[in-house]
Amino acid sequence: MKDQPFLDTSPEVSDEVRKTTCYMCACRCGIDVHLKDGQVAYIEGNKDHPVNQGVLCAKGSAGIMQVNAPSRLQAPLKRVGPRGSGEFEEISWDEALDLAVSWLKPIREKNPEKLAFFTGRDQSQSFTSFWAQNYGTPNYAAHGGFCSVNMAAAGIYTMGGAFWEFGQPDWDYTKLFMIFGVAEDHDSNPIKMGIGKIKARGAKIIGVNPIRTGYNAVADEWVGITPGTDGLLILAMVHELLKAGKIDLHYLAQYTNAPVLLDAETGLLMRNEDGKQLVIDRATGKLTAFDQKGVSPDLKGNHSADGLVHKTVFHSMVERYLSAEYAPDAVAEKVGISAGRIRAIAAELARVAFDEAFELDQEWTDFRGEHHTKMVGRPVSFHSMRGISAHSNGFQTCRALHVLQIFLGTVEVPGGFRFKPPYPKPSEIHPKPHCKVTPGAPLDGPHLGFVHGPDDLALKEDGSPARIDKAFTWENPMSAHGLMHMVISNAYAGDPYKIDTLFMYMANMSWNSSMNTKGVIDMLTDKDENGDYVIPQIIYSDAYSSEMIAYADLILPDTTFLERHDCISLLDRPICEADAAADAIRWPVIEPDRNVRGFQSVLCELGAKLDLPGFVNKDGSQKYTDYADYIVNHVRKPGIGPLAGFRGDGTNSGRGDVNPKQLDRYIENGGFFVEHIPAGANYYKPWNAVYQDWAVKMGLFDSPQPYLFQLYVEPMRKFQRAAEGHGKRQPPEHLRERIKLTLDPLPFWYPTFEDTQIDENEFPMHALTQRPMAMYHSWGTQNAWLRQIHGVNPLYLPTKVMQKNTFKDGDWAKVTSAHGSIVVPVAEMAALNENTVWTWNAIGKRKGAWALDENAPEATKGFLLNHLIHELQPPKGDGLRWANSDPVTGQAAWFDLRVKIEKTTTPTESQPNFATIKSPVGQGPSELTWKVGK
């Protein structure tokens, strides 16, 4: 046998490691970027980072292909051909900024609302909203409205926080983890880490999802529910738990508004003269404020006055959920799950929550001043995301899920679901929406927020919508994240008014981020009778040559995520853990090799050129030289800035003076900052005195803010009352009945609008998309490595449909909705709800985009379901077309879609087939043999 060859097993790995934050999706993991000769050689997870603790997903590791992607924009571009042609000329930054100012300055002086500024998958919303507020337009939001605002808003209104960035399961103690509608993102690495951790302990997972992939594939029990019926399943379980008395009565009485009395006449919560909610004290039998020391709120209390008997919220809930309509046998057919199985799941939830309850030897004191020697743990936890929220009944479904976990007493207890700072945070202390426009001056406050009744709606004096997206109007009163998906169609229709300039960042609105993609393209390119574009000017910023580029008049090229500063701020969407507050930065670990600038830095300059008060010094000079300068020096309120760590002399956390060396300290610390919650404060946070004091110290609140979970959401009742004719602000007649029905202050289930308006026999199948783990919306396809994993997206059909149509994998189907048709390749999937078809989200690409060859499978075989989904529902008998959105929050109802499937002859390419757009960046190389350094 010949000798083994010599092998150097200790080669140099890199010249230097720079630690920053990933942006290959929205998870914000810490990464170690290995450099050789100043170039990125390898990216791996940062072991010290609170989010990912060293692990990294496929997207994160492929970041090297993203920062070197041929699709990167190279320089500012000015459109020279017709919109959509892709004809641009490169211009200098001075020209680009002058052009932008020439559009934006006159608008601001005369009518700031004529600017619509929407920022997509922006991770700097506290900054971009600050810019928009200073500009003075009411028309600002990011992408939450087409993403998961139902989840966020339902959680915040109900319990002061929701899933994902608001909270996480107690991975150390949970024994049963139940997920609803969780595709393979939101969030990415932490859920995988958690699943791995609990599986290693033998804990069980129940996955509720029509599609058995990803997390649902490893779940011990798969519940292949019919889309849009999750609320019914959840309330059937609530029914069973109530019927069996398997609910946490102590928890409900102490920490929720279940014992609060409802005024029998108005349905509003009874309050004392200080506005405090009233309960009956079991000790005295008397009416008392809920928060008094020693009060033992009575769940069955009632109060008689003026001939009326006022009963508790809990009483109403018992009446509603014990009703036969929520019995498992009554719902089984609709949800597609047998009654016996529904009972089995409810029983398992009850068994683990109550029979496996445990105690931690941890003293704590609640907000009433009562001292507890132990913390009771209930090891059941839930997680849920877009699958249940992107429906027109999504808000109420998300609320129902929170009711379920609160009835089990598993929120903020050991083993249950736990909030991450700055949550828990009651809805009342969030801002309310602001919309008062003054020419030449800032808006009167933050754009987005939480309404608490008709008075908070964003309406003009004549009652018309103040915002271009009609957020915070009677059509969707609690639209906390705005409705980005309605901006272009409303601006095009001039309803509620016309705009002059559409300014967008990181949102692929002419492709996968819009419903009715072809319609949106037409709106962006249509001209009026004078030959002018209906939407006169469009400014767009992105790092990459997406499908949206061709539809803008001015392109401001952004940097990639390794070439920029960012802050993952506690003012925005931080990286906290249930045991710690944490935030992070990005910093230029490499310098751009193109004529591009970080978008936020461009806004600093634009803000100064427009004389926006927050962006100029007293002498009129530019206040922040760039985004890094803003991150360090911006003061949101005294002692509070974008970053919480290393303030003052570098030792202050949360509150403290500006520290000029703050970014250096972050870099030294690995790109992030963590402050742990003290022992004894890390559970029961909404009611835990030590936590509340810590939160004040950290600057999360200015005073302790304990609160009750709002099983009954009173603001919804206020909208209902308006619809019943009470109050000055009244909804339009055509919306009265819908508001009365859908703004119910207690969760209920109703069929999705599509299900009620479309003939189920004609369109028998539900159609869904989900995002794969290895791709983030449209970004992944430009990545040479990731597109080899997900380069095609067949429409997956259940076995029954395959057989009925004699389909074979690779055959083509015509898929038709009430709105349109597509022709696409199909493949069989057995582990799928039998009335559901689905595909991967945003794999389909337009020819010419993303520096791909025209023959790229993403363009020839890939497709979007977006073509089948309209932003409006089909016409009703009344001649009106309502938004295809949740009636409470305006969340885009992507997953309400119903279709029919027919076999068709093999086309040459998937349909519809759009003309190639001219690429401003050319095409990528045919072969890669990537290696940097020596």
Binding site: G196, W785, N855
Partner: protein, 248 residues
């Protein structure tokens, strides 16, 4: 033809937990990144932005649907890379000696300078674990990150294969199967770790932990003890509540 060592001092390899693997492809890309930059020629990609993208990977994840006799279909994610077989047919078939199994730890490697790209080893491997790099013309395969696991330029905690370090679900484990007390040996024993295609006689070192049984929850009827009704009507419920609260 090339000889295998009669025995190796250690048997380094992976345990892959099919019960926990969520199919995220993190291991695939982490491997691609490390091995593009490190051992041997970069892992090239053809038609990288074109109509038929096809590159070299040392590790891929396949997903298979399984239909049990009873119950719902299941989806199994199956990561696959070289299993570093004790009787590795890819080594014995090699005409130049480029493929070899290391005496000290059992890792199967390709010495690229001796590889003529004939492809015999890929043909001999029953697992399809080797890929011929189209740009370099040499055979590529999992090295078990031999340039990481002993690398003194890395912190000790990082001296493990890139795929193991990155796996978010913790479904991949690295260790020495020759040591019965190692983590991987114990996991294999506890969880019934299996050889892939043992009938091939290759004696793979890597082991797969089988998925745990699924969908075993039994449907329950209304009178099952866990959900014994205390009341079916709101009135009865409130009466129960009265009694219960008195006891609290």
């Amino acid at each position: 033809m090339t000889q295998l060592p009669t025995s190796t001092d250690r048997k380094l390899g992976l345990v892959i937990d099919l019960d926990t693997c969520v199919g995220c492809h993190a291991c695939v890309i982490s491997c691609k990144g490390w091995n593009t930059e490190n051992y041997g020629a970069p892992l090239s990609d053809q038609s990288a932005y074109g109509g038929n993208p096809s590159g070299t990977f040392l590790n891929r994840v396949h997903s298979y649907e399984v239909q049990p006799e009873e119950g719902a279909a299941q989806l199994i994610h199956f990561p696959k890379s070289c299993l570093h077989c004790e009787d590795a047919p890819c080594v014995t078939v090699c005409p130049t000696g480029a493929s070899y199994k290391r005496v000290e730890d059992g890792i199967v490697l390709v010495n690229e300078s001796d590889c003529i790209g004939c492809g015999l080893c890929a043909w001999a491997c029953p697992y399809g674990a080797r890929e011929l790099d189209a740009a370099e013309g040499v055979m590529k395969k999992c090295t078990l990150c031999v340039d990481r696991i002993y690398n003194e330029n890395l912190p000790e905690e990082d001296r493990e294969p890139a795929c193991v370090r990155t796996c978010p679900a913790g479904a991949r484990h690295f260790g020495d199967f020759a040591d019965p007390d190692s983590h991987v040996s114990k996991l294999t024993a506890e969880r019934g770790g299996m050889d892939l295609m043992p009938e091939q006689g290759t004696k793979p070192v890597n082991k797969y932990l089988p998925p745990r049984p699924k969908d075993k929850m039994e449907e329950i009827e209304i009178l099952a003890p866990l959900l014994t009704p205390i009341a079916v009507e709101p009135k009865g419920f409130m009466a129960w509540l009265d009694k219960t609260l008195e006891k609290v």
